[in-house]
């Protein structure tokens, strides 16, 4: 019997606002900031303090709702989600429940099995909790994070494999960064996932008992835990058992999920409308102006890059995965006289390799677009060879500096002096009679080796096209001499 997983995803994303969801406290990097410095009566739940809605958070949430094709509700309701935990100062979290801000959207994903729509059930706003830590038998609470605006984005149970889960999560991550609503900084926990998973016989349209894996903070944890959980549930069914409804945690070290709460101890959150806040009214005119200011999203950008710059889809997708990178690409194209495809292959190749090696975020590219344009153009104009170009780029990444100056300093300007190159070739052919003989005997791969020798002798400066022409010509001459 074959089984298939049915997966729904809840994503919690911290919104990039200056102040918190319901008070004026500054939102700070909760890892770097000193604990409990950015707090007030509201976000520490002092008796009598009252919440006031952060307008910017609403704007960002509407932006996301619109980008995901949701219906934005002009009236929505904040509700109290009641439960006890030390990181939750009021004993309830202000969230949204039966009347969320946005509903019914979708994200299109593409995997090996094809293209499909993942339906978004709802997008709503809530507040983050404080952070607990434990040491020396004590527990510590930091309320700096308490009250930071969180967006919850919930899918329908439309995902059918860990791969789809990963593609969906990656795409949503990119969209949030595109919209400039979330920093995308996964290490800092600004995006957290919860996966609801059940498994059923393939072809069935029933939903079996599901489990919920909480607090997944990386794509890796998300994929690994769903893989593990699907396997675990499948094995239970295969051996004739039944899956228990429960809340699970995921241990990254062991790669296994573990039970946190069974069905019996499931929370009853006793939701009811938050009486301290009137209904949230979002005027249609405001929604329209937010819609008008939405940036181009990855999908549209990919299509445009393919059409406008004649890139391959795969290439365009790589460049548009991050808005900062796409912007950089376009800026280089604009400043360069080389073709967009040339620029693309530079950025997608050497350039990305350096970024990855040096662990540089694309929002922080240290090379001005103008400099990269100059470098690429020098190669295009054959002022430097491709190889030298790579050397220059790596120098720019390593020590900074302007490409044209580096070329001068390092004496990397390409040599197109026919006499000099011919002289070098003749010398190399004389010094390597054995290899020349092999070539003449038909082993054509020797040509590449000989080109390497030329490049080495000229320290990469010889114009490769010209060198290749001259080399082939010299070898042909030798061949004719031999035959003659």
């Amino acid at each position: 019997m074959k089984y298939e997983p049915v997966i729904g995803l809840e994503v919690h994303a911290e919104l990039l606002t200056k102040s918190k969801m319901f008070c004026g406290c500054e939102v700070v990097d909760s890892i770097a900031a000193k604990p409990n410095r950015y707090i007030c009566p509201v976000c520490t739940g002092q008796p009598g303090a009252l919440p006031v809605i952060n307008q910017k958070a609403i704007e960002l949430a509407v932006r996301v709702g619109l980008a995901l094709g949701c219906e934005i509700h002009t009236e929505s309701i904040f509700a109290r989600k009641n439960y006890f935990y030390p990181d939750l100062p009021k004993g309830y979290q202000i969230s949204q429940y039966d009347q969320p801000l946005a509903t019914n959207g979708k994200i299109q994903i593409e995997t090996e099995t094809g293209i499909k729509d993942v339906r978004i059930r709802r997008v709503h706003l809530e507040e983050d909790t404080g952070k607990l830590s434990h040491a020396d038998g004590h527990s510590f609470i930091d309320y700096n994070r308490s009250g930071v605006p969180l967006l919850e984005i919930v899918t329908e149970p439309d995902l059918r494999s860990p791969e789809e889960v990963k593609v969906y999560a990656t795409k949503l991550h990119a969209i949030l960064r595109y919209l400039d609503v979330n920093s995308g900084d996964m290490e800092k926990g600004v995006i957290r996932f919860e996966a609801n998973i059940s498994v059923r016989e393939e072809g069935s349209d029933q939903f079996n008992t599901r489990t919920e894996i909480k607090n997944l903070n990386s794509f890796r944890a998300l994929t690994q835990s769903t893989e593990y959980e699907i396997k675990r549930q499948t094995e239970i069914y295969q051996s004739g058992g039944t899956v228990e409804q429960e809340t699970l945690g995921f241990n990254e070290a062991t790669g296994k999920t573990y039970s946190q709460r069974g069905k019996e101890s499931a929370h009853d959150y006793r939701y009811f409308p938050e009486p301290d806040l009137p209904p949230l009214i979002v005027e249609q005119g405001w929604i329209d102006s937010i819609r008008a200011s939405l940036p181009e999203l990855p999908e549209a950008k990919t299509r445009r890059f393919v059409e406008q710059y004649e890139l391959k889809t795969q290439e365009a997708r790589l460049l548009t995965a991050e808005k900062a990178l796409a912007d950089y690409f376009e800026s280089v194209v604009e400043k360069s006289k080389s073709s967009p495809r040339t620029v693309s292959s530079w950025i997608a190749g050497e350039f990305m390799r350096h970024l990855n090696d040096l662990n540089i975020d694309v929002t922080n590219i240290p090379v001005p677009a103008e400099d990269l344009a100059i470098l690429i153009d020098m190669v295009t104009d054959k002022k430097v060879s491709g190889n030298s170009g790579k050397v220059v780029l790596s120098e720019v990444f390593k020590n900074g500096g302007k490409p044209d100056e580096i070329v001068k300093e390092k004496n990397l300007a390409q040599v197109s002096d026919e006499g000099f190159i011919q002289e070098t070739i003749t010398k190399i052919l004389n010094e390597n009679p054995k290899e020349v003989e092999q070539y003449l005997a038909g082993k054509e791969t020797i040509l590449q080796w000989l080109m390497g020798q030329v490049a080495r002798a000229t320290r990469g400066k010889a114009d490769p096209t010209l060198a290749r022409e001259l080399l082939i010509q010299s070898l042909d001459n030798l061949k004719q001499q031999q035959n003659g």
């Binding site: 002092q46 009598g48 303090a49 006031v52 030390p86 009486p275 806040l277």
Partner: protein
């Protein structure tokens, strides 16, 4: 004449003419509290040092003649559910016995800017849950008219303090009659404000959608002065109203009669269970209103009978959530001998909350639980809408309504405390007003066996000015509000 016999206007004039200083006035009140309050127990905390400091600052203002308001240098008290920076704020609960806020609630802040002098914080039923102050976690306040009787609740300490001359006015808080009922039982004037008229920021909540801060004073005129100072929109309270605050005290000066006003008498409020003396006092008062020029008509509020269950259901639900933060983690009582977080919660809340509070938390938790929400909370909200519509309909034809505040005069201490339901039913005339969110004024209108009787005057949302005008005209023709309990004559 002793200084405690002055009303706000009189005290203000003496302060202005520098015949008396705020420090002297405040000192006299502090001395009187020390002498008289041990019998009455209206104060939980007397903030003597702060009072003297504020009085001196007020004297400076008066001397310079800058920023002087009718309340500058006037000593007052506040119910212990209003957060006061640096002054212990307990809600008369053991769980907050050692809690000192680090911020002022907006109403107190406004009085600070007006230059008023806070004498201390008054006793109440724990978190406002009760009608007698018998549910205070510390002690029961006595009715100044008769120490064997309750002062009413939950703002019983505030009412008793005003009645006994232990402050020129008090800030009370009304969730379901908590200003009006003790005002009626103690023979003082109390105003339950429209929901949203006075900011709730810093008011420790019982029921967020019912709670209102309001003045308790010796006369409607004094209450109007206080309301002017504390009312208004507050960016920190999203449920506060943006409508401008009216010049209530000016409006009173211009009022000469009640001609042109139509006052409705809801028949459902004059039924079985109403004490005959309360009934006859009200009938007399209504006749006086008529002689002042008001037109009197009978009206009906058909859903009145549902007010008590609806009110309590919503109260239980919201209170269970509002009281969740008292978990021993950040402030207030924290039981230390515990072995887990759950244990901390259980032991702290077990030790910190009184029996009535626990009962209401449990009932509210139940009413909000999955499977019961629709049947209880949601249905209660629907009926609340019907009750609100009753009032809206009545106010289509009437400018105000008049009813008794309570079916009886102050009951005896211990009389109802063993029967919670009986205690809940004593709120029958007051809770519907909180469900509707409208304002209501309680003014003394009679005496029975040495205990005051109160009249309730209600009006549409934000009609405070009309209510104060009616109350003021009534007080200009009657002397019930000038009667004082025997302790009034005790002087230090």
């Amino acid at each position: 004449m002793d200084v405690h016999e002055l009303d706000i206007q009189q005290a203000h004039e003496l302060l202005l003419s520098r015949k008396i200083s705020s420090e002297e006035l405040t000192g006299a009140y502090l001395a009187r509290i020390q002498q008289v309050d041990p019998q009455i127990k209206s104060y939980v905390t007397v903030s003597e040092e702060l009072a003297i400091k504020q009085a001196r600052e007020a004297d400076q203002r008066l001397k310079r003649g800058e920023g002087v308001t009718p309340l500058t240098g006037i000593p007052y008290s506040a119910k212990d559910s209003l957060s006061t920076r640096g002054v212990r704020t307990t809600c008369s609960s053991k769980i907050l016995e050692n809690y000192t806020p680090f911020y002022d609630c907006t109403a107190i802040q406004k009085l600070n800017s007006a230059g008023s002098v806070l004498l201390g914080k008054t006793n109440m039923d724990e978190f406002g849950m009760g009608s007698s102050t018998e549910n205070s976690g510390f002690f029961t306040t006595r009715n100044p008219w008769d120490f064997d009787h309750v002062p009413g609740g939950s703002s019983g300490g505030s009412a008793a303090a005003v009645a006994a001359g232990l402050g020129l006015f008090s800030l009370g808080e009304d969730t379901g009659g908590s200003v009006r009922m003790p005002a009626s039982f103690c023979g003082v004037t109390g105003l339950k404000t429209s929901y949203g008229r006075v900011s709730r920021y810093g008011l420790i909540p019982l029921v967020s959608s019912f709670d209102t801060i309001g003045p308790m004073a010796r006369s409607v005129r004094d209450a109007a002065l206080v309301l002017e100072a504390i009312a208004g929109h507050d960016l920190k309270d999203s449920t506060s109203r943006v409508e401008p605050v009216q010049q209530y005290s000016e409006a009173l000066k211009k009022t000469e009669n009640l001609r042109g006003l139509r006052i409705g008498i809801p028949k459902e409020y004059f039924v079985e269970g109403l004490d005959p003396e309360v009934d006859s006092s009200l009938r007399t008062a209504i006749k006086q209103m008529e002689s002042l020029g008001a037109e009197i008509v009978e009206v009906s509020l058909p859903h009145t009978q549902y007010a008590i269950p609806v009110y309590y259901l919503i109260l239980f639900a919201e209170a269970s959530s509002n009281l969740a933060k008292y978990d021993g983690v950040r402030f207030g009582l924290s039981e230390r001998n515990v072995d887990s977080v759950l244990d901390l919660y259980l032991k702290t809340r077990e030790a910190g909350f009184g029996a009535e509070t626990k009962r209401r938390i449990m009932l509210g938790t139940f009413a909000l639980s999955a499977g019961y929400y629709d049947a209880y909370y949601l249905k209660a909200q629907k009926v609340r809408t019907l009750i609100r519509q009753d009032f809206q309909k009545a106010f289509e034809t009437c400018d105000a309504l008049i009813t008794p505040v309570a079916p009886t005069t102050a009951f005896r201490i211990g009389e109802k405390i063993t029967n919670p339901l009986d205690m809940y039913l004593s709120d029958v005339h007051v809770v519907a007003i909180n469900l509707a969110g409208i304002p209501a004024l309680s003014v003394p209108c009679g005496m029975s066996n040495g205990l005051p009787i109160g009249m309730q005057i209600m009006g549409p949302h934000l009609s405070e000015e009309t209510l104060l005008r009616i109350g003021h005209m009534y007080q200009s023709q009657t002397d019930w509000h000038t009667k004082h309990p025997p302790v009034w004559g005790d002087s230090p």
